[in-house]
């Protein structure tokens, strides 16, 4: 039993990382209807910027994190302005291909940095090595930090969407772009803001991942897990993305422990198949239809 809970908790913490990436993914999808396949690469860039500032430049941890998160956010916003804004009105498929291309370019760019490409690295934090005990369960402090940080970020997001003018405007745009324009919302600024926030949140995911897993230039593939996580949650639901991500992490962790080798890699996709068979709209699918 203790072993089971142990696995569940470590699953939750990796699931939190998936959840954050999925949150960024869904945020962009809701605000701009763009399926962003470059989201994993944004996470990778965030993680490596963190690595550069913390390990190579030896900046204080908090300062390094702030710079890495802001830089990734700005990079994401810039990608939207330069590459995706001209695509407004083009077929969804064309836009999707642009994001795949951007993902490849980001990966290639990372490979050109000698300090990044040569090694798989890990960021050590002051927490590394210490543990948190909950009764008989032992959690590494890094894993616990991931869970706590995710909880804080998700709460922040909730407050942003419910309480702030800009948050309401973002919701409005995702529900009726036309009506939002009639209210005076500049929908294009909202797109940029969505990418900015998604960049920030994936950078956080990358930074949180760095102490608990190795980071390497190809870690963007991990970001693709955000897509099954989003699908499980209903694809356009922010709470769904978080629940989907955590569920995915737990399944993977349990599959890795109890099932033969290889199952943990496909657990995500088996889970997607099961969820979609039982509930095609996803766990949190929004199903209110427009009334005439």
């Amino acid at each position: 039993m203790v072993q089971f809970l142990q696995q569940v908790i470590s699953g939750v913490s990796i699931g939190c990382v998936y959840a954050l990436i999925a949150l960024g993914f869904v945020l962009i999808y809701k605000a701009t209807e763009t399926v962003n396949f470059a989201i994993g690469e944004l996470m990778m860039i965030g993680a490596f910027l963190g690595f550069t500032f913390i390990v190579i430049w030896s900046l204080p941890l908090w300062l390094a994190a702030i710079i890495a998160i802001s830089a990734t956010a700005l990079l994401a916003a810039m990608l939207e302005r330069v590459f995706l804004r001209p695509m407004v009105g083009e077929p969804a498929f064309a836009i999707l291909v642009v994001t795949i291309g951007l993902g490849f370019c980001l990966r290639a760019a990372a490979l050109m940095v000698p300090e990044w490409s040569s090694e798989t690295v890990r960021i050590f934090t002051p927490l590394s090595g210490s543990v948190v005990r909950l009764g008989p369960i032992v959690i590494s402090a890094d894993h616990a930090a991931v869970i706590v940080a995710t909880a804080l970020i998700v709460t922040g997001f909730f407050v942003f969407f419910k309480r702030t003018r800009m948050g309401l405007a973002m919701q409005a745009v995702s529900q009726s772009q036309l009506a939002a324009t009639y209210m005076g919302v500049r929908t294009r600024s909202v797109s940029t803001l969505a990418w900015l926030l998604a960049g920030a949140i994936t950078a956080v995911a990358g930074l949180l991942l760095a102490p608990i897993a190795f980071i390497h230039v190809n870690m963007g593939v991990l970001g693709l897990k955000a897509i099954p996580a989003a699908i499980i949650g209903g694809f356009s639901s922010l709470p769904g993305a978080i629940v989907g991500g955590i569920l995915l992490g737990v399944c993977e962790s349990l599959a890795g422990f109890y099932l033969p080798a290889g199952f943990s890699e496909v657990a995500a996709y088996i889970l997607v198949l099961v969820v979609l068979t039982i509930r095609p709209e996803g766990l949190f699918g929004e199903t209110i239809h427009k009334r005439v």
Binding site: R165, L168, A169, Q171, A172, Q175, S176, L178, A179, A180, T181, Y182, M183, G184, V185, R186, T187, E286, I288, H289, K290, R291, V292
Partner: protein
């Protein structure tokens, strides 16, 4: 006579290569309710969308409160005092009723008055107050129309554009919505440009009317005159004199053709 609040002169708007509005000129005097009648596809909604800036006219000029609207971004139009109740209502279905109304005040800076205005609008529509905390997508069609009107009025517009407010509503609800339109005009002095298929209600509510066919204005005048026009009577109000029809073997042609 003072300048009209809104004038369109010779406006042409295209959907791709299809001309939807073919050189329309109209004038909306301040404080009036003006209606544009026309059947499906006549270009009524396109005129409203062109005024709101979400579609750009290829030719012609639009002037609002003596300022040309050419080149003004759609999102800035509401700030000038033009508010749009879109066709099909376009409420935000997953936001609460109250949040929907609040969105109407998006560009207003006077934070303290906004709360008061929301309360006032909820007082006018008790059913909305009852459901203020529910997602707006759960409201009935008529309630959504009321909500869309409240939301549009939150920007305190000088001109309210209304696109087919009766769409999909029962006759009773439709009359109620038109009553609301008249009240808004009388109480706030809001000028209203109303696009409607229900010609009878629109003519009895509005002061001035335009008849639009295939993108062109074919008839205009005070609604009292329009209601007496033989063509309007037959083709828009459905009043035809059966006795005369009996003698005729042909279908009456419209005067303007």
């Amino acid at each position: 006579m003072t300048q009209p609040l809104l004038t369109l002169s010779n406006v042409e708007t295209y959907y791709g290569r299809i001309m939807a509005v073919r050189g329309v000129s109209l004038a909306v005097p301040e404080g009036a309710i003006v209606t544009i009648l026309g059947s499906n596809g006549a270009g009524k909604s396109t005129i409203l969308k062109t005024i709101s800036g979400v579609m750009r006219p290829r030719k012609g000029a639009i002037t609002f409160a003596d300022k040309p609207l050419a080149g003004v971004e759609a999102a800035d139009i509401v700030g000038l005092g033009i508010s749009h109740v879109p066709e099909g209502r376009e409420i935000f279905p997953f936001m609460t009723v109250r949040e929907n109304i609040l969105m109407g005040a998006y560009l207003r800076a006077d934070r303290t008055h906004i709360e008061q205005d929301i309360e006032d609008w909820l007082d006018r529509f008790p059913i909305l107050r009852e459901r203020a905390g529910l997602p707006a997508g759960l409201l009935s069609g008529g309630q959504q129309q009321m909500l869309a009107i409240c939301r549009a009025m939150m920007s305190r517009p000088k001109l309210l554009l209304m696109d087919e407010p009766s769409l999909g509503l029962s006759p009773m609800l439709t009359r109620q919505i038109f009553e609301i339109i008249r009240e808004i005009n009388e109480r706030f002095g809001t000028t209203i440009l109303l696009v409607e298929q229900n010609a009878k209600l629109a003519l009895s509510t509005a002061h001035l009317g335009y008849v639009l066919e295939v993108g062109r204005i074919v008839l205009e005048g005070p609604t009292t005159e329009l209601m007496d026009n033989a063509d309007v009577k037959e083709f828009y109000l459905g009043l035809s004199n059966e006795g005369v029809r009996g003698e005729r073997r042909w279908k009456r042609k419209k005067m303007w053709h």
